[in-house]
């Protein structure tokens, strides 16, 4: 005992190993055990969250398809000056013929065609039509390929086609991102698209703006409900809570359709207004298939996500604060505004973040009740995922949306402070 305490070196454990190492070993075993407990969750998050987001980010810039499908042409084209005003030479055409033959056999010719078609409409049919015949090309004795290809499809005589192949030959592209912000690669580098083709920036701004409106109307509507929930006697509060949660037990489509029935021009609300005499039968209000319809329906759908965090925060505020404020001379309003309200801000913050982030990702409801001016950017993402199959553009739009959310989250942290968010 005594010699152990006397040594000036490291403190030793009972078995003679340095205490520090012994402690680290014991802790490591503990940490390992803890890690094993959360391993399924970590794995789940990795597989279902991190990997898909990583894949999305990768797809938004990935462009290997051109160089992989048309390796010879890409190489041959590197020497061609797109501004020369002349078509590429025979070597390039020969390379393209060889690439096409191989691509057709692998059924990759239309994919590369579709890819390039995003940048230059019409290219996909050039590849589709030429691909079939390319299967029968005799590379040894055929040619001259310039004539053969142009004969198959006069798109090969279009310099724009070759310029597009050349521009989009690198394995990484900014094309999807440029497209996602209504730009494109022109002869002189990136440029804005023509006015008539700009959609995404408007949609993004509209999505953010309307999501803010929805968040705000959720705050306004949820606040009194949450207050009632937190202050009613338990029996009534439970009943109210069931009413708040009831929408969760109904399908999203049903709820959205119900709003259609209520809000359309021959709908319940207009019928009542006409019946009461507030609105003329010939001037029924247009309150659906526009932004108003989207805001109403989405506010309703997202309301519980605002009520619940608010409620759980309000529940923790004892009524004595309000009494204290009043006893100190504050009117009802001052007591609420200076004392009660500031303490509910963490709940409002949590609810707002939740509702806002959910709102900017919505697409079913806006598609059904949004008409032309109430749709969101997610509607375009869904369109590119399932209909146009332009997954690269969808990924770029998704990445931008993700970035916007992160920026807003950061701004929120700076302004309000993220520790000021409480879910209960």
């Amino acid at each position: 005992m005594s010699d152990m305490t006397d040594t000036s070196g490291p403190v030793l454990a009972a078995d003679g190993t340095p205490l520090k190492r012994s402690l680290a070993k014991a802790l490591r075993r503990q940490k390992l055990r803890a890690l094993m407990l959360i391993a399924p969750l970590l794995l789940f998050i990795l597989v279902s969250f991190i990997l898909p987001i990583g894949d999305m980010l990768y797809r938004s810039v990935e462009n290997k398809i051109v160089v992989n499908t048309l390796p010879r042409s890409v190489e041959a084209l590197s020497g061609w000056d797109a501004d020369s005003g002349e078509l590429p030479d025979e070597a390039v055409f020969a390379a393209m013929a060889a690439d096409l033959k191989e691509a057709y056999e692998a059924r990759a010719h239309t994919r590369v065609g579709s890819r390039l078609n995003y940048e230059y409409p019409g290219i996909s049919s050039v590849f589709r039509k030429s691909g079939r015949s390319a299967g029968r090309f005799d590379l040894e004795s055929g040619g001259p390929w310039k004539d053969v290809l142009i004969d198959l499809d006069d798109g090969w005589a279009d310099q724009g086609v070759w310029r597009t192949i050349q521009t989009y030959s690198p394995p990484v592209t900014s094309g999807y991102f440029l497209n996602a912000v209504d730009m494109r690669v022109g002869p002189d580098g990136a440029e804005m698209r023509p006015e008539a083709e700009r959609i995404y920036m408007n949609l993004l701004v509209r999505t953010l703006w309307m999501s803010l409106l929805i968040t705000f109307s959720c705050i306004v509507l949820a606040y009194p409900v949450a207050w009632l929930l937190a202050n009613l006697p338990t029996r009534q509060a439970n009943l109210l809570m069931i009413l708040v949660l009831l929408p969760f037990w109904t399908s999203l489509l049903v709820r959205t359709s119900a709003w259609k029935i209520l809000l359309q021009q021959q709908g319940v609300i207009n019928d009542i207004l006409v019946w009461v005499g507030l609105v003329d039968d010939n001037a029924r209000l247009i309150i659906i298939n526009n932004q108003f319809g989207t805001i109403v329906a989405m506010t309703h759908i997202l309301l519980p996500f605002m009520i619940l965090p608010m409620y759980s925060v309000m529940q923790t505020i004892p009524p004595s604060y309000l009494r204290a404020a009043k006893s100190l001379g504050a009117t009802e309003w001052t007591a609420f505004w200076r004392v009660y309200f500031p303490q509910t801000i963490p709940g409002i913050g949590a609810g707002s973040i939740l509702v806002f982030i959910l709102a900017i990702g919505y697409y079913i409801t806006p598609a059904l009740v949004g008409g032309t001016k109430g749709t969101f950017i997610s509607n375009q993402i869904a369109f590119h995922i399932s209909t146009s199959l332009n997954w690269g553009l969808a990924s770029a739009l998704g990445a931008i949306l993700l970035a916007v959310v992160l920026v807003l989250y950061w701004a929120y942290d700076k302004i309000v402070g993220i520790d000021n968010v409480k879910l209960g």
Partner: protein
């Protein structure tokens, strides 16, 4: 103690009743007058109506019937924020999102007091509770005792004439509580404010108050200064609620002036002072404080009745001895004796005789 003239005045409950459900009264016909500058404690078990009275005074509950007057003005219809009453809450109710100084400035701000005057008053109030250095902190960064002081300072900073305190020391440990009891009474008296203090802790009530109103069942059972309350309880509830107390049940057999003879249920006879009994034949609960019981015959008055007792337990407590006896069939009869050189230490099983001054033995209601 305030003099009799001002006694009719500052806070008056005039036949006040309160019911929450329309079926039962939680406050029954309450009459109470509190003098300016008086420190009054409302003491009682939970559910006795004391907190309801406080809340009615503060304006958070309305009286179902009767008037509450403040300085002669009925205040039933005045909202709480216009009553100008300072209040200290059980859990302090310090606003967690404001600093200590902001908490104190709050009542001044809502009164539209200018910034410089506000700051001066806040500083003075903080100094008054010895918390001058803590103005920039948040309530959560303070200890319980410090929060208590801030709550007190906040209730006083706008110089109210009346301060209400709702079990303000309930959350503190014993030592801190005793210290704060002293601080609060000192402040109240120094500032000359009227204080209504609610507690269920009788020690607190006895040590702090000018007057104590003992509540039970929606009524004031007795309103008296602490010494009277302890020594001269007017009914058996007060006798048992305040301090330790022995009771024996019996029938009045004889009334003679300011004493009476009570025949206990096991046949023995004792002397007592009649309080709530007036006729021979009344059943009564006689009450005697443990420290007023004597078993040293030399100290007993000549001619008083004595009772036989058997010692069941003897507990040495340092300054006193505490002995449990069986007296007239009651196994829980306690006596307390000061630890003095000449005092005999009893042993369990010992048979003794006990007695008391008739003035110390009060014949109360059953």
């Amino acid at each position: 103690m305030a003099d009799a003239a001002s006694n009719d005045g500052f806070v008056v409950f005039d036949r006040v009743q309160k019911s929450y459900d329309g079926e039962t009264l939680v406050v029954k016909d309450l009459n109470l007058s509190i003098a300016r500058g008086e420190f009054l404690t409302m003491l009682g078990p939970s559910g006795s109506g004391k907190t309801t009275c406080l809340m009615m005074l503060a304006g958070f509950e309305t009286a179902t019937h009767g008037d509450i007057r403040l300085d002669g003005q009925p205040i039933n219809n005045i909202p709480p924020h216009k009553r100008g009453i300072g209040m200290v809450f059980q859990n302090y109710a310090l606003f967690p999102h404001m600093t200590v100084a902001e908490n104190l400035a709050f009542p001044l701000e809502v009164r539209k007091i200018g910034k410089s005057e506000r700051e001066a008053k806040v500083k003075r109030a903080l100094d008054m509770v010895q918390m001058g250095a803590f103005g920039g902190r948040r309530p959560a960064q303070l200890s319980g005792g410090q929060q208590q002081r801030i709550a007190l300072a906040r209730a006083l900073v706008f110089e109210p004439e009346l301060v209400l305190m709702d079990e303000p020391l309930g959350a503190l440990d014993k030592q801190l509580r005793e210290h704060m009891q002293f601080e609060i009474t000192r402040l109240a008296h120094d500032l000359g404010i009227t204080t209504v203090y609610v507690t269920h802790d009788q020690t607190e009530a006895l040590t702090m108050s000018d007057n104590v109103a003992v509540f039970d069942d929606g009524r004031i059972q007795q309103l008296a200064p602490p010494d009277l309350l302890y020594e001269k309880p007017e009914n058996s509830f007060v006798a048992q609620f305040i301090g330790e107390n022995n009771t024996l049940e019996g029938v009045v057999t004889e009334m003679k002036g300011d004493t009476c003879i009570v025949k206990l249920d096991d046949g023995e006879v004792i002397d007592a002072t009649p309080i709530n009994v007036s006729n021979v034949g009344d059943r009564t609960l006689v009450s005697i404080r443990p420290e007023r019981v004597e078993y040293n015959k030399d100290r007993l008055q000549q001619g008083v009745h004595t009772l036989k007792a058997e010692v069941l337990e003897f507990i040495y407590m340092g300054d006193i001895f505490r002995t449990r006896l069986r007296v007239a069939g009651n196994d829980e009869f306690i006596i307390k004796t000061r630890n003095a050189p000449d005092v005999e230490r009893l042993t369990p099983g010992q048979q003794i005789e006990i007695g008391w001054l008739p003035a110390d033995c009060r014949a109360l209601d059953t």
